[in-house]
């Protein structure tokens, strides 16, 4: 057998296989369920076994020394350790073997803890299973061959996906160490969720005051390259050498030319979440469009040379349309909206040959009304809501805008849905006013290819969609808002300037804050979102600080586990906030008593009073569950990492490797791994940076030599394997008519091995012979022939 060649290691120059078997007690973790002494006795009787021993803790230093001594003393050339999972301590024992001069791949681990002692109650049967597992390992290890690890160089450049607080922290740490970072952010600015917060718990310091300096240093750092409004399209390669395609979305503003003066969004006539306007002709409503406050429409018309409103034509009763077509001209030629079209029907009777046609392009600017000589066109507000909680934003609410005025990079983008130019080809005002000529409406998506050595994923979280949760009334009742909406309402740069107002523009007299909306709920998410208790307490404080009003907190439990968190909770209890222990069941506007008239009523079972309560309030704030980002699964697949049950990225080990993942060179940090608050996200960002820096500092990464090798004497050149390889590591050598494997590309899945009809491909470390020997050992047919 090919694979058993070259095992003449140590003293056994005659090719004799000498296996040492070491069975670990792991304290009582194994010994309580598996009769260790019995397993050792059994192992002693197995073919090729020269020595079998047990020890309390094999992974301890004396345990490892025991193996090393025996390698010399007993001339061992194979080692089997029956202990915990190889995912846990295989590297430890391989290192121990290597230090004693034995090739580390002449070692095999038998997992009798995670997959035997911990999962079985019956001691005799657990012992029996352990024996099978040990026999499989002994049988297999005889066929192990000496292998050499591959060292791959590590590219210093680091890719960080997600420019929230975790990503920024990591980027700064790595960049400060002098290593280049590419920070990819999907939104037009870095800053993430934290940039939308007004205050942070429990210290109540202003989020912008602590975040903005970090954003600015990231933006100005010579080692950080920010790619905002961009996404990772594909990733190939492996640790040390990843090839990444970054898709840069159409921003329509050239970030190399733009100097961030802001003239474009000051001049832009299209408002994102404007009040709606109804345009009526002769009292008949035709359009609902959105209009810009502050006379932008007038600016548009004045710019086009129309200075004054036309005088009404004499003898025409005001209010009658005379089909002059001024409105249509203004709409198409001045505004560019083409919402009104004047039709001339030549075949019809005289006097009736003209008509106005309307379509849905109206932007509510009011230019037509200014043009109308008869007053036939009027414009009125379509709705009376003053504050649109669901549509509020920080920063300028124009079609061309920056997400906040502290945006990094300070380069605007054009929102195609709102922009007049993209709706109807008109306007173009921003391009005219831009002194840098940075705006280009025909900008295309660009793909940029970069090479990096390691990747950090810090993509953050989404909140649960509240629209389907009809019982809480979000989207149905004006004054039911989500936590993130409240953050913006409360934010000094928000639409209300930080004033807490109801939809009608007046301050609320009572506010209910509902915890656990979608969290700790078997219908939605089982997990606790961890941050809601604390930010709900923060909300209560902010409401009480800004408005004279009653605040009710509906909670299941208050989870205030964090530095200074419990103290903050105590403080809120002193601030006259009413805590009702009961999860809110429903929010309704259906009054059952006079005091509930015109109010939102929160229904909940007060579990301390043991009764159902109805609390009428003016405003309800929901604390929605944090969940994995939409698209997390796709990104996980792109990177070869896993997602847990709730969709959050899976770390390599929940306790001991919290920022590493199953894929070498790929790390996670922040709320994309599980719900986290700011301190924890920052800690993880820094931890990931330390991991990455240690990888870069070492300069190389050792890759297990588990790769495919082709025996060209057996290969028939059928090429079945070539299509099987997901990494294009296999190709055909036309001249010799055989398949060849590029081992640098091979990741060692072994799919080709299982495919080859000739058995010409073998996977190092998992050869057919090794697996067959392992099978025979597991099933008790330890054939002497296979151990040669």
């Amino acid at each position: 057998m090919d694979t058993s060649k070259g095992n003449g290691h140590g003293a056994s120059s005659n090719g004799e296989i000498r296996v040492g078997v070491y069975v670990c007690h792991c304290g009582t973790n194994i010994a309580a369920t598996v009769d260790v002494a019995e397993v050792v006795r059994f192992a002693e009787g197995l073919p090729n076994v020269a020595v079998a021993k047990d020890y309390q803790f094999m992974c301890s230093e004396p345990g490892q020394e025991l193996i090393q001594q025996d390698i010399t003393e007993h001339k061992l050339n194979r080692v089997v350790v029956a202990a915990c999972s190889p995912l846990m301590h295989e590297p430890t024992f391989r290192r121990a073997c290597a230090e004693a001069g034995l090739n580390p791949f002449l070692f095999q681990m038998a997992n009798i803890r995670e997959q035997c002692s911990w999962v079985t109650t019956d001691k005799p049967r657990a012992t029996e299973k352990a024996k099978h597992i040990v026999r499989a390992a002994v049988s297999r290890v005889a066929l192990h061959a000496e292998l050499q690890v591959r060292e791959v160089p590590v590219n210093e450049r680091v890719l960080i996906i997600g420019g929230g607080i975790a990503g920024i922290e990591a980027a700064l740490q790595i960049a400060d160490a002098g290593k280049p970072v590419i920070l990819v952010e999907r939104e037009p600015s870095i800053g993430g969720r934290m940039a939308t917060f007004d205050k942070t718990f429990p210290t109540l310091d202003c989020a912008a005051c602590i975040l903005t300096p970090k954003m600015v240093s990231a933006g100005q750092h010579r080692n950080i390259d920010i790619r905002s409004y961009a996404e990772v399209a594909s990733v190939s390669g492996h640790v040390g050498q990843f090839q990444v395609s970054i898709r840069r979305n159409r921003r329509y503003v050239d970030d190399k030319k733009c100097n961030g003066c802001g003239l474009c969004y000051q001049e832009c006539p299209a408002i994102v979440s404007p009040k709606s306007r109804k345009v009526s002709i002769e009292g008949q409503p035709y359009f609902v469009g959105s209009y810009a406050e502050g006379g932008e429409a007038r600016k548009v018309t004045i710019r086009q040379g129309d200075r004054e409103r036309r005088k009404p034509i004499k003898d025409t009763p005001t209010g009658d349309c005379i089909f002059c077509g001024k409105c249509a001209t203004a709409c198409s030629e001045v505004v560019g909206a083409h919402a009104i079209v004047l039709r001339r029907d030549e075949s019809a009777e005289a006097g009736k040959q003209r008509s106005l046609e309307f379509n849905g392009n109206c932007i509510g600017c009011g230019a037509c009304v200014r043009e109308c000589p008869t007053g036939a066109l009027t414009v009125t507000d379509a709705q009376d809501r003053q504050v649109l909680h669901h549509e509020m934003m920080l920063g300028p609410n124009k079609a061309i805008r920056v997400p906040t005025l502290q945006a990094v990079p300070n380069v605007p983008f054009i929102d195609e849905e709102t922009c007049i130019h993209f709706r109807n080809g008109g306007c173009g005002h921003c391009a005219e006013v831009c002194p840098q000529e940075a705006i280009s409406y025909d900008m295309e998506e660009a793909i940029e290819e970069v090479e990096v050595g390691s990747i950090l994923v810090a993509t953050g979280f989404d909140t649960i969609d509240l629209a389907p949760m009809v019982q809480y009334g979000w989207g149905r009742y004006d004054n039911v808002i989500s936590g993130l909406e409240f953050e913006i309402l409360c934010h000094a740069s928000g639409s209300t300037g930080g004033k807490i107002l109801k939809a009608d523009g007046t301050p609320p007299k009572s506010v209910a804050i509902l915890h656990c909306i979608g969290s700790r709920d078997e219908h939605y998410h089982e997990h606790c979102s961890r941050v809601c208790c604390m930010y709900s307490l923060k909300f209560a404080h902010l409401v009480r600080e800004k408005v004279e009003c009653d605040v009710y907190e509906f909670y299941i439990d208050i989870r205030a586990g964090g530095k200074g968190y419990e103290e903050f909770y105590k403080r809120l209890m002193r601030e006259d906030v009413t805590f009702i222990r009961g999860k809110a069941a429903e929010v309704t506007n259906w009054p059952m008593s006079p005091e509930e008239e015109g109010k939102l009523v929160v229904k909940a079972e007060d579990t301390l009073l043991g009764q159902i309560r109805r609390v009428p309030v003016d405003m309800v704030i929901l604390s929605p569950a944090l969940q994995a980002r939409e698209g997390a699964q796709t990104l996980a697949q792109t990177l070869g990492i896993g997602c847990g049950g709730e969709g959050f990225f899976l770390e390599r080990h929940p306790k001991l490797a919290p920022v590493q993942t199953a894929a070498d060179g790929v790390y996670v940090a922040g709320a994309c791994q599980s719900p986290k608050d700011i301190p924890d996200s920052v800690a993880q960002g820094a931890a990931a940076a330390a991991n990455i820096l240690s990888l870069i500092d070492k300069g190389t990464f050792s890759i297990e030599p588990v790769v495919a090798v082709i025996d060209e004497t057996l290969c028939g050149g059928c090429r079945t394997c070539i299509n099987m390889c997901p990494y294009s590591a296999l190709s055909a050598d036309e001249e010799r008519n055989v398949a060849v494997c590029e081992s640098a590309l091979c990741k060692g899945c072994g799919t080709c091995v299982a495919t080859c009809p000739a058995g010409a491909i073998q996977q190092q470390g998992y050869t057919d012979a090794q697996i067959r020997a392992e099978l025979e050992g597991a099933l008790g047919r330890l054939a002497a022939s296979s151990a040669e």
Binding site: S85, Q115, W118, V119, T751
Partner: protein, 142 residues
């Protein structure tokens, strides 16, 4: 084949290193109990499970073979489990020709976070094989 309550089947489990082996470790860490009838074998990918290895297991005395891989779309090697997904039905039709109940081979997906599911799958499969009874040895196979 007569089902016997005190028959303890021998089962071979091929576990993909990335999802199912980790899931099995998680079952251990969480101390979830399941029958000790399955001897686990670690492979890098369920795509490595050559059908001849399954036949060998059955020939060498296994009463059932469980192949566990990552959920479709989660494969660490992108699509190794898709290959297995196509191979297993073909293997089952071969088994039928050998006179072996195809139910003795089962392919399941267990992710690294599904310790409970791993235990459940092993438990179910063990009970199913127990009900099927011992597998007659076919010496000439593989």
């Amino acid at each position: 084949m007569s089902a016997s309550a005190d028959f303890e089947p021998t089962i071979i489990g091929f576990l993909c290193r990335w999802c199912s082996y980790t899931g099995a470790d998680l079952a251990g860490t969480s101390r979830v109990k399941y029958p000790p009838n399955m001897i686990p074998l670690k492979v890098m990918c369920s795509g490595r499970v050559d059908p001849s290895l399954v036949l060998k297991a059955l020939a060498d005395g296994a009463d059932g073979v469980l192949i566990l891989g990552c959920h479709p779309g989660d494969c660490h090697y992108h699509e190794g489990n898709h290959k297995t997904m196509r191979r297993v039905p073909m293997l089952k039709s071969v088994l039928q020709q050998y006179g072996i109940d195809p139910a003795r081979v089962r392919l399941e997906w267990v992710s690294a976070s599904e310790g409970d599911r791993f235990a459940e799958v092993v438990h179910d499969f063990t009970e199913e094989i127990r009900a099927l009874g011992p597998q007659k040895r076919v010496e000439s196979v593989a």
